[in-house]
């Protein structure tokens, strides 16, 4: 049976109960936005010497087990992997299974995100190969964790928070395994070419710099030099060649379709009109939107409004998709600054268009950077599972407390000049606007606008935005009004499911402090 963490609970600055100690490490409770200012020196990798590496640059070894053994795999090590191949990834499980075959136990798996196709990691947790996962968990892995079956606590971090945790030494990666759509024998690698091309490899960049050991796994070994290369071979210990690093169909989508759901289209249209009417959409502006149904439709509506107004953006941030690529190719934006690449058009563009630029969590999101791109974006459009009357939002759990999504770049993007959450006002009769979110992931002071199919609610802290859209024909309404209407439609306020008393995971804020706790949920699901 899993052992419950014996630790005291503290109340943080957001009023949420958080743990003093997580997986044996003392924690700092969330202090408020921008309040935590740690001092000292950043973590650094051990000294390596070029003389220890082959002069001819050939670091290829026969297989992943050999590479792991040569890296000194031991029980309890932290092994990292990345999600640039998304649900098509084969390398993370390849790494965990190889470690299992070598007899390793109690490993910490530190993925930049996990995906449903990696559900067999559950068996490795049951057999003791993996102790716990520090990274997003959803689907079967999320359920396993939420039921309290994982031994250690899950630690949920944003993409920027992952870089921060590596840099301030909270997580020390023993061995990083990087899936590479193209690599040379020296370990230079890139994601823009090859049969498993996926676009940016930015999520693996920190690991390549800070891990003790770095292994590159590729299904497209090219003669030196691999150009372009986002990851430098100078940080790489070994290169392993395999038949396939991933299932191409699930790495990027072949056809990016805009939703046909009338409600989602309406929300997307309202967001686009908000940007126009609040005069955020103007020459030289910037925005970020992901690849979800509403975000894609939003880009398509905004494009129309930009054309009508003759407005051109300076840069847009992805998740890039066909829609952003069209903006770039039609001259409606000067640049795409791309965090990850979601479809074939995105991959083609990043590989061929010098104005489509790969970014990383370091350039975009890192709390320990000397600033980052996210706060320079004029508007960002995000989703949420729940919001509350204080504009706080939840993105990781369902209202019943089950883990559903990772944090991804979501928390980091809240730094934008105008953060817009585009959400339906209820899903399957379950209201999305509550008195208090089940799990706090984003503090309301950073969330400016909530757009639902029933109206647009502007955070009263943003009087400037309230004033900006005065006189427009947008359906601007107080959030409490929308909430009351939805509760009438749904037949009253929903009961709040009671959660267990045992923590199963923690939610970190972008600075590494503890923002909230995810509790065990019992019952059938």
């Amino acid at each position: 049976m899993p052992v419950a963490e014996k630790t005291e609970l503290l109340t943080n600055a957001a009023g949420r109960s958080v743990l003093e100690v997580v997986n044996g490490r003392p924690q700092t409770p969330y202090l408020g936005v921008g309040k935590y200012r740690p001092t000292g020196t950043k973590a650094s990798p051990p000294i390596h010497t070029a003389a220890d590496y082959p002069q001819n640059g050939d670091k290829v070894v026969t297989d992943l087990e050999t590479a792991l053994r040569k890296c000194g795999l031991r029980d309890g090590m932290v092994l990292s992997s990345h999600h640039h191949l998304r649900d098509g990834d084969r390398v993370a499980l390849m790494m965990l299974n190889a470690a299992g075959r070598l007899g390793a136990k109690d490993l910490v798996w530190f993925p930049s995100a996990s995906f449903p196709s990696q559900k067999s990691a559950i068996e490795l947790m049951q057999s003791g190969v993996i102790d716990h996962i520090e990274g997003s968990m959803n689907g079967p892995l999320g359920d396993y964790c939420t039921r309290g079956k994982m031994r250690g606590l899950g630690v949920l971090r944003s993409h920027g928070g992952r870089w921060q945790a590596i840099q301030d030494g909270e997580v020390h990666i023993d061995i990083a395994v990087i899936a590479a759509p193209s690599a040379d024998a020296f370990g230079n690698c890139d994601g823009s070419h090859g049969k498993s091309a996926c676009g940016s490899l930015g999520f693996a960049l920190a690991d390549s710099i800070y891990a003790d050991h770095v292994i590159v796994v590729t299904d497209n070994l090219v003669p030196f030099p691999c150009v372009p290369c986002q990851i430098q071979g100078n940080n790489v210990d070994y290169v392993v060649q395999v038949d396939s690093i991933g299932d191409a169909a699930r790495i990027v989508s072949g056809t990016t379709q805009i939703t046909r759901s009338p409600d989602r289209l309406r929300i997307a249209e309202l967001v686009a009109r908000f940007l126009r009417d609040a005069r955020i959409m103007r020459d030289g502006f910037s925005f970020q939107a992901g690849a979800g149904g509403i975000a894609l439709a939003f880009v398509s509506y905004l494009k129309q409004l930009m054309k009508e107004a003759g407005v051109r953006a300076r840069f847009v941030r992805g998740g890039s998709t066909k829609l952003l690529v069209e903006l770039l190719e039609e001259g409606l934006t000067d640049y795409i600054l791309d965090g990850q690449t979601f479809d074939l058009d995105g991959v083609r563009s990043i590989a061929s268009n010098p104005r489509h630029v790969a970014t990383s969590p370091f350039t975009s999101y890192n709390y320990h950077g000397k600033g980052n791109f996210a706060s320079m974006v004029d508007a960002v459009v995000l989703g949420a599972t729940e919001v509350d009357l204080n504009f706080n939002a939840n993105v990781v759990t369902h209202s019943d407390g089950r883990l559903m999504h990772g944090i991804g770049g979501w928390q980091n993007c809240l730094a934008s000049r105008c953060t817009i959450l585009a959400v339906p006002s209820f899903r399957d009769r379950i209201p999305v606007i509550l008195d208090e979110v089940t799990t706090l992931c984003g503090p309301g002071e950073l969330i400016d606008v909530i757009v639902t199919e029933r109206g647009v609610a502007i955070n009263p802290r943003r009087q400037d935005l309230v004033d900006a859209v005065k006189g427009s024909n947008l359906p601007v309404r107080p959030l409490a009004d929308i909430k009351a209407e939805v509760e009438r439609i749904c037949g009253g306020r929903p009961c709040r499911p009671k959660h267990g008393h045992r923590p199963v995971a923690v939610v970190k804020w972008v600075d590494g402090t503890l923002l909230d706790t995810v509790w065990q949920v019992n019952g059938t699901f």
Binding site: D400, R427, D428, R429, E453, R454, C490, G491, G492
Partner: protein, 410 residues
């Protein structure tokens, strides 16, 4: 709880076939399946599986108890598979299942009433009317948000024959419980005589307008009007319920004017092109040449009768450019609106049926010239070198009134 003494002993209990209503399954949203097994004693036993159990489980059980009590069901096993249905849907499905089983007192169990909007005006804008299938509750809830002039809760072609009874209850409850905002609340009833039964259930909930399908002779319109008047009088209702006959056959087209004149309550005449082209045995094309004569007949008959002429729906919801072309042409012919099958069609149709900036500008000039002539006491109005006849002034007045109603001008 057992209010009545058992009339039979356990050994005498007879098996009754179970009866069902509604739908469930992983792809179903906002609906539920209810299965009722009658029994002779033991009270009500509810077996509930709901995707919103933690939030509304208790509320669903309480609602089911209340509805069954109102229906006069004292003993039954009730299985509910719920996919997040709203209360008015739950109540309609329970009522349908009970009535299908031939149980209960035949009560109409009515959900809470939202504020009934003002009665609609005879000549209001009817540019767009959004069809919503009467057996798909998930589409009801937000139907009014997309800004169409009307919402049609459809009991006819979008409802399978085996679901007509249940859809009628669902639509009735929706009329009470769903806020259709500024939309005109329309119901398309079934072809007569089934459509007359629909009216018994629908009319007490004050729809603004009834669409009568497949009208071929004026008597059909009169029969609907008569039935509406009877139900209204039974319930003491006075608010108007307008009629819009749909002509969908060669015979209907031939009788267009008589149909348009059949009732004082008729405010618009429209055409159903799928059935009309099928009747003629021709292919329906996106340019509509095969139905041009029929559409002209409808237009002329409607104008002769002093009512609105409304065009058919445009079936290809994926092709907005073709829709725009159709709608622009339709307005040019003299139609005042169209049907919509998907909300994305609404703004395209509104745009196409709105007077253009040029037209508005010209109408303004004509009216200014007319006013000037009036002030000067001149009998002849002229604009530049052109004489302006009274019909031209009338047309300009109509155009400005319409532009005002659409919010195109202030």
């Amino acid at each position: 709880m057992n209010a009545y003494p058992a009339t039979k002993t356990l050994s005498e209990e007879v098996e009754h076939p179970a009866s069902e209503a509604g739908r469930c399954g992983p792809d179903v949203r906002s609906d539920l399946r209810v299965r009722i097994e009658r029994r002779e004693h033991g009270g009500i036993e509810i077996d509930l599986h709901s995707r919103v159990e933690p939030y509304y489980g208790e509320s669903i059980r309480r609602l089911a108890d209340t509805v069954l009590e109102e229906l006069g069901i004292r003993h039954a096993r009730v299985h509910i598979e719920d996919e997040g249905a709203l209360p008015f849907v739950i109540s309609a499905r329970l009522e349908a299942a009970v009535k299908r089983a031939g149980l209960g007192k035949g009560t109409r169990v009515l959900p809470d009433q939202v504020k009934v909007p003002q009665a609609s005006a005879r000549d209001r804008l009817r540019r767009s009317r959004l069809y919503v299938p009467g057996s798909e509750p998930k589409y009801f809830i937000n139907a009014a948000l997309y800004g169409s002039d009307g919402v049609i809760l459809d009991l006819e072609d979008s409802v399978h024959p085996s679901e007509k009874d249940a859809a009628r209850l669902l639509v009735r409850n929706a009329l009470r419980s769903v806020d259709f905002l500024a939309c005109e609340r329309m119901v398309r009833i079934n072809q007569l005589p089934l459509g007359l039964e629909d009216l018994d259930e629908i009319v007490p909930e004050c729809p603004d307008l009834i669409l009568i399908p497949k009208v071929e002779i004026p008597d059909q319109v009169m029969a609907v009007e008569k039935r509406i008047d009877e139900v209204k009088s039974d319930y003491g209702l006075t608010r108007p319920i307008w009629l819009m006959p749909i002509l969908e056959s060669a015979l209907g087209i031939e009788n267009a004017f008589a149909i348009a004149k059949a009732s004082e309550k008729t405010v618009a005449l429209t055409i159903g092109l799928e059935d009309y082209t099928a009747d003629l045995g021709v292919v329906k094309t996106s340019t509509g040449t095969e139905s041009l004569y029929a559409r002209h007949r409808v237009l002329n008959a409607a104008h002769a009768a002093g009512i609105q002429a409304i065009d058919s729906v445009f079936g290809d919801v994926g092709d907005l450019d073709a829709l725009r072309a159709w709608a622009t042409n339709s307005r040019g012919l003299g139609f005042e609106g169209m049907g919509c099958l998907h909300p994305t069609q609404i703004p395209i149709i509104h745009e196409a049926f709105a007077p253009t900036a040029n037209e508005i500008e010209r109408a303004r000039k004509i009216l200014a010239a007319y006013n000037e002539a009036q002030e000067k006491g001149l009998a002849v109005v002229s604009l530049g070198s052109k004489m302006i006849d009274p019909p031209v002034v009338n047309r300009a007045l109509k155009l400005m009134a319409r532009a005002l109603a659409m919010g195109v001008v202030q």
